[in-house]
């Protein structure tokens, strides 16, 4: 029963002292609010950058043109061979006739040009999407080596540049988010340290009347939890409503259709959960670190 009573008392005392030391608690809560707000915004941005790069990567394909001499059987054989290559996701066939119809429909002048030819000058093709954008080059080379394949292109230079840019953007975003989390942890921990510094006599009395270290730490850990959770309330509200409004105002994309935003549900809830969890965790760990300083036994 004793451990339960100590836990119960710790929770009750944690709530009491948040309100009894209201000005100091407010300072810690405000600090948590401001820093978690910055983290929330950076998470929203990071999530969208990641999403946009993944979307763009999905649109990178290899276009394979077949020799004019390739028969339907050859095309079937090549299609199966391509499907057998590792990391190939989808293979879509388009015959030269389909190309011709499509191009003529797109622009009438193409139709006029095609009329000058006795035979269709275009080639049958495959559009190959891959599972891993980094394997584009390897797959394109393998396809190019196949019989009856005229070419396999994926816009080498541009694509390689885009891939390296994406990698840099992803890494930078991760570094920024992690740094912000560390800064947040540092700021919140220090503000909580100030709160606990003002209550060191309370800790001293607890030690001298014979409280075990765990019984001393618990109320402060719960208090840190409460401060962290209260501090994350405004960032969560801003995340949910701010993102939904921004998404609707922007029509779900930025600049062009190419950069699509992540739909608000469940993205905002996931970010909110991370923010509340982060606030609670930093609050608890911060309090624990601060109170340990005064527990020299």
């Amino acid at each position: 029963m004793k451990p339960f009573r100590i836990i119960g008392r710790s929770i009750r005392d944690a709530f009491k002292s948040v309100f009894r030391n209201f000005s100091l608690s407010m300072a810690s809560i405000l600090c948590a609010t401001i820093t978690l707000l910055v983290v929330a915004i950076s998470l929203l941005i990071a999530g969208n950058v990641e999403n946009a790069t993944n979307n763009l990567k999905d649109e990178l394909t290899i276009v394979v043109y077949l020799d004019k001499s390739a028969s339907t059987d050859d095309a079937d054989f090549i299609e199966n061979s391509i499907k057998g290559i590792k990391d190939v996701d989808k293979v879509t066939y388009k015959s030269k006739e389909e190309w011709k119809t499509e191009m003529s429909e797109y622009n009438a002048s193409f139709g006029t040009v095609f009329e000058n030819y006795e035979q269709n000058p275009l080639m049958d093709s495959f559009t190959v999407t891959v599972k891993d954008v980094n394997s584009l080059e390897r797959i394109a080379t393998e396809i190019e080596e196949m019989d009856k394949v005229a070419s396999a292109n994926y816009g080498e230079d541009t694509v390689n540049t885009i891939i390296s840019v994406f990698d840099v953007v992803e890494k930078v975003t991760i570094v920024v988010v992690i740094s912000l989390i560390f800064v947040t942890a540092f700021l919140i921990t220090n503000t909580i340290k100030l709160t606990i510094y003002s209550r060191r006599s309370e800790i001293e009395i607890m030690r001298l009347v014979g409280s075990s270290n765990i019984a001393i730490k618990l109320p402060f850990v719960f208090e840190g939890f409460i401060i962290g959770v209260l501090g994350s309330l405004i960032p969560v509200i801003v995340t949910i409503y701010g993102y939904i409004i921004a998404y609707e105002r922007l029509g779900g994309h930025i600049i062009s259709d190419l950069i699509k935003l992540i739909p608000p549900y469940n993205f905002v809830f996931l970010v909110s959960l991370v923010i509340v969890g982060l606030g609670a965790l930093i609050g608890m760990v911060g309090s624990l670190m601060a109170v340990r300083k005064y527990l020299k036994v």
């Binding site: 004793k2 009894r20 006599s201 009395i205 009347v209 014979g210 270290n213 036994v297």
Partner: protein, 233 residues
């Protein structure tokens, strides 16, 4: 019956200052002992060793059969539950009432609410503050605040009451009242009392055992001693 035994205790701080040198003394159960000496003589270090706020560099400190010097950090709290400590600066929590300050000591130990109330009221009654249970420390006089500190120290019915200059901040009349309270606790509850003090008048009047510490060395142990015997040394 031996309750406290210090054997060849030495304490040297990391700064190189020697606070206690080869100090040996025994104190029986139920005794009332004054520890006197000049400022920085080693009184406080002696007192702090009893509740393991300080550890000796050499020697053993046995309190109630336990060698405090060898006690693991994780078990120190068990020793402190058997000891009440009264400070010169009271160390009350300003935002708690008299009742809450005394109850705090028991709540920290996980005592049930039904047990806390009678124990706290009894302790408050012993120190004569029955009418002030709902007052906050800032509404009390210095003497009253010290009584709250004493009530908090005895609420868990400790076997040893350690007082570190409890009358240091009080006027002579209030000091007398506080000493009466402590003497009653010693007589009626049979609690062993060890008190560090500078107050000559109290020591001379009460005629209790006196330990004199000078420059970290126990230079006098008088059974019904006083500052006069100290001066005679």
């Amino acid at each position: 019956m031996k309750f406290i035994e210090l054997k060849n205790v030495n304490k040297t701080y990391s700064t190189g200052v020697t606070a206690l040198a080869d100090l040996s003394v025994t104190i029986d159960k139920g005794e009332f002992v004054f520890v006197i000496g000049h400022t920085a003589s080693g009184k406080s270090t002696f007192i702090k060793m009893l509740y393991r706020e300080e550890k000796p560099t050499k020697g053993s400190v046995i309190v109630g059969g336990v060698n405090v010097a060898k006690l693991r950090n994780g078990r120190v709290y068990k020793l402190r539950r058997k000891i009440g400590v009264v400070f010169q600066d009271f160390k009350l929590l300003p935002k708690l009432t008299v009742y809450e300050n005394v109850a705090f000591a028991l709540e920290c130990l996980g005592v049930s609410a039904s047990e806390i109330k009678p124990k706290v009221l009894k302790a408050i009654e012993i120190v004569g503050l029955k009418e002030k249970t709902r007052s906050f420390p800032h509404q009390l006089s210095g003497g009253e605040q010290q009584r709250v500190c004493i009530a908090r120290a005895i609420v868990n019915e400790p076997k040893l009451l350690i007082c570190d200059e409890p009358t240091g901040n009080l006027d002579p009349d209030t000091s007398k009242e506080i000493m009466k309270v402590i003497e009653n606790i010693n007589k009626e509850l049979k609690t062993t009392v060890i008190m560090a003090t500078h107050d000559k008048e109290i020591v001379n009047r009460m005629k209790k055992r006196v330990l004199l510490i000078e420059h970290g060395v126990l230079t006098g142990d008088y059974l019904k001693g006083s500052y006069k015997s100290h001066e005679a040394v």
